[in-house]
């Protein structure tokens, strides 16, 4: 059959030609095509940019907003207080950003960018697991209830490093075994590097629990500091002064009546750019540090809920029958009570920390993903390629994960962006209600201090965090909207 002449694009083609495929555009890969469509929408680009900004501050907040000086010279010599006070997670985040960004954008060409991103995500998970578990192990061993030899060995100089090393090795082995990317060498290298970095960070990063910020002011006043370099925003979220409560944005420290003693010092010349909160902490530094909570809570809890949801949905959809009947009762339980209601109860009675909050948001909001996956799998189950895989005697796990999952996962992924937005909303809500994680800067917590019990309304505690929450939720919603339009074939058909 002679094709339409090349180079001579017809003005119009006949219906018969269209049926034969004349005039059709060369197809790209499904995801590539979908991603290009997403990027074609200004809303999605806006959303991605805002998320990138949040992510940047989430990583670099300790360097940008910190009440410790970057460096100072006293009689004792030169010190680097800011770096000394960085926590293991801070170091790992910085390392991940500094090494990961060039890896994703400039990494080896034989891996696709999505694969390189996958490697980075796997390393992130490995590092996070190492940090969390080694902290837990150290805390456990250091507990008063433990036997003496356990306590003594963890308090020995080699105690923490060896405990951390053991944890790091375990997770390195797991990471090397999980097939995150086809290329074995890349996998082993990444797992090894991550384990080494995590070991270094967890063993040697600063563990100073008590921080005295006033020390620097006293030294400054007494003239002990000869030279000092401050971070761009010289405040930390933990640094609160009861003599600096609820100052309006832009206030100079020395202009606060109770702080007029600092009139001639460098401290007195500082400004509270976005004001201070009801406890006398700087709002801007809290806003910047809260980016961490926003990014992590959204992504981690959605990750948990998607993982649970896909597993449950796949089981229901693939096996059907009794399995479906039983598991769907569980889904129904979550449908019968508002999830936010359960979250409030759970957050109210469980310990107030970030990990618990991520876990409960994840564990209570998986039903959407499960329902999507179930519906897709029920559809896919009867399709020929699955029947063929089954007829070929492939094991269930292969059929589920190799053949069905990539085909059934699309609606879940589209929904995941909305789920991240919802998780951020939930975090803000719980923090507002006073059920948020303790000791964490959070936009929701700032927002809750806007309406004080006395009935006054502090506008800068509502407007700035409120705008940040709104923009983040909006960004994820815009992104989700764009992805849905790009991927949902039904909508695409209707959209001609």
């Amino acid at each position: 059959m002679p094709d339409a002449p090349i180079g001579h694009a017809p003005q119009a083609i006949s219906g018969v030609d269209a049926m034969r495929g004349v005039g059709a555009v060369q197809a790209k890969g499904f995801w590539e095509d979908a991603w290009a469509r997403v990027l074609a929408r200004p809303g999605a680009v806006f959303g991605l940019s805002w998320i990138a900004v949040i992510a940047f501050f989430a990583v670099f907040a300790p360097l940008i907003a910190n009440a410790h000086p970057v460096t100072l010279v006293t009689d004792r010599g030169r010190e680097w207080p800011l770096l000394e006070h960085l926590a293991p997670a801070d170091w790992l985040l910085l390392a991940g950003a500094v090494l990961g960004t060039p890896w994703v954008f400039l990494g080896p060409r034989r891996l696709k960018r999505s694969q390189r991103l996958g490697v980075l995500v796997a390393c992130g998970l490995q590092a996070a697991a190492t940090v969390v578990l080694s902290a837990a192990v150290v805390a456990w061993a250091d507990d008063a209830d433990r036997a003496a030899w356990v306590k003594d060995s963890i308090r020995a100089p080699w105690g923490i490093p060896s405990a951390v090393a053991a944890v790091a090795l375990v997770f390195a082995a797991v990471a090397a075994w999980v097939p995150s990317v086809e290329c074995r060498r890349v996998r082993l290298g990444a797992a090894g590097l991550t384990a080494a970095l995590a070991f270094l960070a967890c063993s040697f990063a600063g563990r100073t629990a008590l921080v005295n910020f006033e020390r620097y002011l006293e030294d400054e006043r007494s003239g002990a500091i000869r030279e000092v370099v401050w971070a761009p925003v010289p405040w930390s979220p933990q640094y609160t002064r009861s003599d600096m409560v609820a100052q309006a944005p832009g206030t100079r420290v020395a202009d606060v009546p109770s702080l007029s003693a600092y009139a001639d010092t460098a401290f007195g010349a500082r400004r509270l750019l976005l004001g201070s909160d009801a406890l006398g902490g700087d709002v801007l530094s809290q806003m910047l540090w809260a980016c961490r909570l926003s990014i992590s809570i959204g992504i981690v809890s959605t990750g948990i809920s998607v993982a649970i949801g896909i597993t449950m949905g796949a089981l229901m959809g693939y096996f059907g029958g009794k399995v479906d009947l039983f598991l769907f009762r569980i889904v129904e339980i979550f449908m019968a009570v508002p999830v936010l209601f359960l979250l409030i109860v759970a957050a109210g009675v469980l310990p107030r920390n970030t990990y618990v909050m991520m876990a409960i948001i994840g564990c209570f909001s998986w039903t959407g993903a499960a329902r999507f996956t179930r519906a897709e799998f029920l559809k896919l189950r009867g399709q020929d390629f699955v029947q063929a895989a089954r007829a070929n005697g492939l094991p269930v796990s292969k059929i589920l994960f190799r053949h069905m999952l990539p085909n059934g996962i699309t609606p879940v992924l589209v929904d995941a962006s909305f789920a991240v937005a919802a998780a951020i909303t939930v975090e803000a809500t719980l923090s507002y209600l006073g059920l948020g994680p303790d000791g964490q800067a959070s936009w929701g917590k700032l927002l809750s201090s806007a309406t004080a019990a006395t009935g006054t309304f502090v506008w800068w505690l509502a407007v700035f965090p409120g705008a940040a929450i709104f923009l983040s939720v909006l960004s994820y919603n815009l992104l989700g909207e764009a992805m849905r339009d790009a991927i949902d074939p039904k909508l695409r058909k209707a959209a001609h």
Binding site: D145, R329, I330, E332, I333, M335, A336, V337, P338, V339, L340, F341, L342, I344, V345, A346, G348, V349, L350, P351, A421, I424, T425, A428, T429, Y432, L433, L435, G444, L447, S448, A450, T451, G455, T456, F457, W459, A462, G466, I469, F470, V473, L474, N477, L478, E481, K490, L491, A494
Partner: protein, 510 residues
Amino acid sequence: MISYLLRRLAFMVPTVLGITLMVFMLLALAPGGIGAGLAGSAGQLSDTSKVAQMQAYFEDRYGLNDPVIVQYARWLGRISPVKFGERDLRTPSGERVAPPRAIDDPPLAEAFPAPTAEVAAAPYAPPAGEQLVPEFKKLQREAEGARRDYIGSVRQFRDALAEWAKQQGPSMAGRLDSKGSARTEDFRGVEFPPDSPGYAKLAAAAAAMRAKWFRASAARERALAAFRAGPYPKSGIPLLPGLVSLDTPDLGVAFSKNRPVADLIAAALPVTLLINLIAFPISYLVAVPTGILASVRRGGWLDVGSGFLFLGLYSVPTVLAGVFAIGFLANRQYLGWFPVSGLHDSAAASMTFLPHTDAAGLWHRGYLLDTAWHVALPVLCLVYASFAVLSKQTRASMLDNFSADYVRTAKAKGVPRKDVVMRHVFRNSLLPLITMFVGVFPAMLAGSVVIERIFTVPGMGSLILEAIDLRDREIILANTFMVACVNLLALLLADILYAAADPRVSFNRA
């Protein structure tokens, strides 16, 4: 139809059980367990041993020292409309009176010599007629007091036991738990040699405990006899006399307020339902027409504009909207147009229902307008987020139906466009909108929890947040139960509406 409804109602039972079990376990998981709030309330007493006794009494009263699953089963027994065993009585004021509880034997009773003074209590005959009610009340109080004393003495005995064990050296001290207190179960079968150090004190505590137990059981016997004499009418309908009966669910008594939870909920639920039932039609009335118009003029300014606006509104968390509304619209520092809190003015009770002008020419807004004025902001905060969901769904299903074959048929029949849109496209798009109920209603109910806190509205949300602060298990569980029931009934209503709207669904085949 009736059999369908019954089947659906039966299917709700496991769901409600699942939810309450989950919440129960969650509460049990919490650090300090279910009774954590009680310890706080007992903590005002200065004497530590008194605190311990008080706590022991509370634990006994609310059954907190049993395994979680037993506690849950007991809760279920109360909530279940089918009751087993002796029926409760009901006072004329509607209060429920349970039979006096049985008292366990004193722990380790066999290990200590029985006091010689123990004689069987004289048989007790409750008075008849008008004397019975005050007598029963008195006996009830006595039995409760004696029980409280006994529980306190058990606690003192345990302290004595711990002290004794510590004096015996490591073999006995090893039986104590990590906090150094004694659990009587761990000392079962232990010999208590009378010549061991500290034995005298232990034996004295045991004797006191035993004496108090004796008194408490005697008091209980008398109270039970009076109970059985029937000071009040029996509650519920017997199915198998003495064994099974039907009764209304008993939601228990709130730890923190010492009031029946049913009363608290009866006061709070109408408030929440009022706000939700105002908000619900508003959200449909705004979102559905917008969705229809957006789909009819697809790509037009209304379509694009409402899409942007609603997505923006959808992205505003309820707390944010609430804080801004309270801060800028209600606070007197700024506009101050709306009341900051509550559901009524303080003078609402004396208001007439409708607005009127009094003799002096002064205008009074009346109860109705006052309420409307108070609920305006809460309702506003409750509805806006559902606009996006509903209008988007309306638009999408309208667009789906626009390309349906039967719409083409309708056009081919010569049906005017307006009628095609309303009679065919919209009529068929109603079905997913009814299903949306399933998503929107729970979201609103949950949203109202937050809104009630922000606007200090005394509804279910405020009740549960307060209960969480105080760890009041009874309120939390009853609240969960009520919310689940309201929600499941709403879902059932949605299904019935769906079946009414879609002839392809019939109750007999579903």
